[in-house]
């Protein structure tokens, strides 16, 4: 999200899902929407059927490409170049939105200069897409308005992912496709509550509502708020005065520090990093070194094997709370059945640990009380209460109890100090790994429609398992011929970090030089071989570009 914060001042999907219906153009880049966000995928196909221009850019021929008006296939890792190329064409063809740039954006002089490096020859060479096709897509996006842009992990999971996000933002700003209904820049958030987890400050650099941990005023606010403690103690405890002023560690860094022996105890709630983290071997070695590891989950996951204590958690159907979806809508979760066995809701377990430690501020009887505390410390959730979100939810920012919520962002001004957006000058950065003689193919990860993340839930649903029961390495007919691989045979996929065994599937959806796997199957743990090279700002690993070699077995 860091990229959007630089450009607009805040990072979240700018518009609402329903607004897809009103868009004249939909540009989907680096997102396999019909698999990862199926009901949005349905809506996009429906919009295309009803006459919207559907533009798709993806390294692979994803299903949405079949119904697209224009489909281009940039090489993995070349999205920044593609987007900057589009910007260059738009300026040269005088298709930019001059009024919007003048009124809503900072001076674009530097940005314009940075486009000089992106000549048609360079762009075509790097992306592998003919220049005239890039121009066509750019022209439609710039002129058939409102145009809405969607992206997902295909843009962010790179060592230069933050640049990718800013490139997307540049294109939207240049054409004035933001701050209006049915346009905007829409990062599709992967997991059901990843937006909410970020909003709630499950991040090493932010308190709830993206308030910085390094800001003394913010720290003081939370010391005040938390010191008093909701209902516990005598109601007049002294403020907590020991909130850390140091940035915390990110997910990937946490495992590094565990490995180096600096982190000794870990509290892991509902995650299975052994399947979902890049370079999972490293994660395994780190977990072995921990002094004390608590895992709280529904099932004994691959990761839970390394725990000292496993706490049984209740499922979403057994507890109350809220999820915030990709369009910033806070929605209710309600218990339908009692918790299985002695399992307990995660909010109860965390509270009970804190209380056992004698800590105040964790005396909650019902999640609605937690939401009341959230609203009191999180400005964007200030007006959210269970009563108000009874039926259809509310989209943040929702500042107070009379605020109607916000269907689309940046209407009158951007969330940057001067209210103006910034077009960021960018340069081309190669992916951390590129194909070479030893590892001649680029592996990019994907998701299946039928499974979810490490599949601890979906693989326990018989029918979903039947629809999609094992991992496939997808590769092009040309590469299959080149490496002597037959459709359906077992192969080994080697990278600089390890090897996995998997069935090969020869398919046209991968262009020559590119192969693809999901990461849902423990039998073929893709992330044992992916590249953990981090984007320096967003700290997202480059799981979309890993150099690999495919070998026949035996």
């Amino acid at each position: 999200m860091a990229g959007l914060v630089t450009s607009f001042g805040s990072g979240a999907m700018t518009n609402s899902i329903q607004e897809i219906d009103g868009a004249k153009t939909l540009f989907v880049i680096g997102a396999n929407t019909t698999s990862a966000h199926p009901v949005i995928g349905q809506r996009m196909r429906r919009a295309a059927r009803n006459g919207a221009n559907l533009l798709v850019a993806n390294a692979k021929e994803i299903e949405l490409a079949w119904v697209a008006d224009h489909f281009i296939q940039p090489k993995p890792g070349s999205d920044v170049v593609l987007l900057m190329g589009m910007c260059r064409y738009i300026l040269e063809a005088d298709l930019h939105d001059k009024q919007f740039l003048a009124e809503r954006c900072e001076d674009i002089g530097e940005f314009r200069e940075s486009l000089e490096a992106f000549t048609p020859e360079f762009v075509t060479e790097t992306t592998g897409v003919p220049w005239d096709r890039i121009c066509t897509v750019a022209r439609i996006y710039a002129t058939e308005k409102p145009a809405a842009l969607f992206y997902a992990m295909g843009i962010t999971q790179h060592s230069h992912g933050t640049d990718g996000v800013m490139a997307v933002a540049n294109l939207a700003l240049l054409t004035g496709n933001i701050g209006k209904p049915s346009s905007g820049v829409n990062p599709l958030r992967g997991q059901n509550n990843v937006q909410g987890a970020c909003d709630m400050g499950a991040l090493p650099n932010y308190y709830p509502g993206y308030q910085q941990v390094t800001n003394p005023a913010v720290r003081e606010k939370f010391e005040q708020a938390w010191g008093i403690g909701a209902k516990s103690g005598n109601g007049s405890r002294p403020p907590v005065s020991n909130l850390s002023d140091k940035l915390g560690l990110t997910h990937t860094e946490i495992f590094d520090k565990i490995y180096e022996g600096q982190i000794k105890s870990l509290y892991l709630v509902g995650e299975n990093p052994l399947l979902t983290e890049a370079n999972a071997n490293h994660v395994r070695q780190a977990l072995e070194k921990l002094d004390f590891c608590v895992v709280q989950d529904l099932f004994i996951s691959e990761t839970a094997q390394y725990a000292d204590v496993i706490l049984p958690a209740a499922s979403f159907a057994e507890k109350a709370g809220t999820f915030t979806n990709t369009e910033r809508r806070v929605q209710r979760v309600r218990p339908a059945i009692p918790p299985r066995g002695e399992s307990r809701a995660d909010w109860q377990i965390t509270s009970q640990i804190a209380r056992k430690m004698g800590e105040p501020g964790f005396d909650f009887d019902d999640p609605s009380e937690i939401m009341a505390e959230i609203a009191s410390v999180t400005p964007s959730y200030g007006g959210i209460s269970y009563e108000r979100i009874e039926k259809v939810g509310l989209q943040w920012p929702c500042l107070d109890e009379n605020h109607p919520g916000t269907p689309y962002l940046h209407k009158d001004k951007f969330a940057r100090p001067n209210g103006k957006a910034q077009l960021v000058p960018l340069t081309y950065k190669k992916s951390a790994e590129i194909a070479d003689d030893e590892y001649p193919l680029i592996l990019t990860t994907d998701r299946s429609l039928y499974h979810y993340h490490s599949a601890t839930m979906t693989r326990r649903v018989e029918g979903l398992e039947k629809l999609d029961s094992n991992e496939w390495l997808k590769l092009s007919p040309a590469d299959a011929a080149r490496f002597g691989i037959e459709d359906g045979e077992w192969v080994e996929v080697h990278s600089r970090r390890g090897v996995v065994k998997v069935h090969a599937q020869v398919t046209d959806i991968c262009p020559p030089g590119v192969c693809s796997m999901t990461f849902h199957f423990r039998e073929s743990p893709t992330n044992e071989i992916t590249n953990p090279a981090l984007d320096p700002i967003a700290k997202i690993p480059e799981t979309k570009v890993t150099a690999v070699r495919v070998e026949k077995i035996g």
Binding site: Q18, H37, P38, V39, Q42, R45, R46, T156, G190, Q191, N193, V194, G196, G201, A202, L203, W226, S244, G248, I254, S265, L266, Y267, V269, G270, T276, F299, I300, V309, I310, S315, F316, G321, T324, N325, E327, R329, V333, I337, P338, G341, E342, S343, A345, W347, S351, Q352, M357, K391, V392, G393, L449, Y450, T456, T458, G463, L464, L467, A538, I540
Partner: protein, 349 residues
């Protein structure tokens, strides 16, 4: 986009009603609790006027299909007359003669448009069975794990074909000729499993009879409005519960997020909740083995170990699968109790 729709006044069976401009006579009647039989009409889909059951008399013109006729100011509609009844009955008998009637064993029996409409027309169930003595004998397609298709029950209303096309945008289904006359099937006449079908079940929920029917027994005793647990779309759902088990899911039409639509995971992927692998007791590793423990013992152990590692020796990983309230508490616990900012969650997008 949407301007205030104009309201139109018309008369149906002598009753004066108002309707929005652009709505059909059928919609207007149904919205005012005036029943007109209909089979190929579905409020989510464009009307096609295929089954002819909805025929009415408008300003003296007999047998106009009310689903394809837009309301007009001052219109005078008669939904029933000798002539209309006769025409409908003929249309109905034609449909039934092609429909395998085994209502007792049919998943749709409680909720079948064919039964409702024949009851309206006064066709006795016995007569129904006599009208339709034998099935077409076409094989039932059970290949999809979540639903089945019995072509013998299909009344060729085309709702499934139009749903897959207009709503899902997938276009898997089409009308095909199987020698016995028309029925529906997948493109290229493959089984559902081998077709381009993505198992969203949108066609199944709209099939007005039992031709496309879910495999699971769906008798939910009560429903709970909640939100799908899988992806960031956050579709609104109703969980159907029987006893202490979830037995059904349907899309929540009220929620702007999905307006009733679901994908295969949201509609059919809830069974993990009932899985026997679910952890039911805390486990503590003792001599390399996990042993069941009481909550109190487990919590004591966790609390005492955490108390020893306050500060930057501690880290917490919250989850994008947990609720907002839970993520909030985990970061609060990490910051206020453990005195470190080492908290993150899995997917950093």
């Amino acid at each position: 986009m949407s301007q205030e729709a104009k309201s139109i006044r018309l008369t149906i069976d002598g009753q004066e009603i108002t309707a929005e401009e652009g709505s059909s006579v059928l919609d207007a009647a149904l919205a005012n609790d005036i029943y007109i039989p209909h089979l190929c009409h579905h409020p989510d889909l464009k009307p096609v006027g295929a089954c002819r059951l909805c025929g009415v008399e408008i300003d003296g013109r007999p047998m106009t299909t009310s689903c394809t006729t837009a309301v007009q100011e001052g219109m005078d509609v008669k939904t029933d007359s000798e002539k209309i009844h006769h025409a409908r009955k003929t249309a109905m008998e034609l449909l039934i003669s092609d429909h395998h009637m085994d209502c007792l064993a049919c998943a749709a029996a409680n909720d079948c448009a064919l039964l409702t409409d024949s009851a309206y027309l006064g066709i006795e169930p016995d007569h129904l069975v006599r009208l339709r003595p034998s099935s077409k004998g076409l094989p039932i397609d059970t290949s999809n794990p979540f639903f089945q298709f019995d072509p013998n029950k299909c009344v060729i209303c085309g709702i499934c074909v139009r749903t897959c096309d207009e709503i899902v945008g997938r276009g898997t289904l089409e009308f095909i000729d199987r020698g016995f006359g028309t029925t529906i099937g997948t493109f290229g006449n493959k089984s559902f499993m081998e077709s381009t079908c993505e198992s969203c079940g949108e066609c199944v929920v709209r099939c007005p009879v039992g031709a496309l029917a879910p495999k699971r027994p769906k008798f939910a005793a009560r429903e709970v409005k909640t939100t799908c647990v899988y992806c960031g779309v956050g579709c609104g759902i109703y969980l159907g519960v029987a006893g202490d088990k979830i037995v059904d899911v349907r899309g929540d039409r009220e929620r702007p997020t999905n307006e009733g639509s679901l994908c295969v995971k949201g509609r059919y992927g809830f069974n993990f909740v009932n899985h026997s692998d679910r952890l039911t007791k805390p486990l503590i590793k003792k001599n390399g083995e996990f042993v069941e423990s009481e909550w109190d013992e487990a919590l004591e152990l966790v609390a005492s170990k955490f108390a020893d590692t306050k500060g930057d020796e501690f880290a917490a990983l919250a989850s994008a699968k947990c609720t907002n309230e839970e993520n909030y508490l985990i970061q609060k616990f990490t910051r206020a109790v453990m005195q470190t900012n080492n908290v993150d969650h899995c997917a950093r997008l």
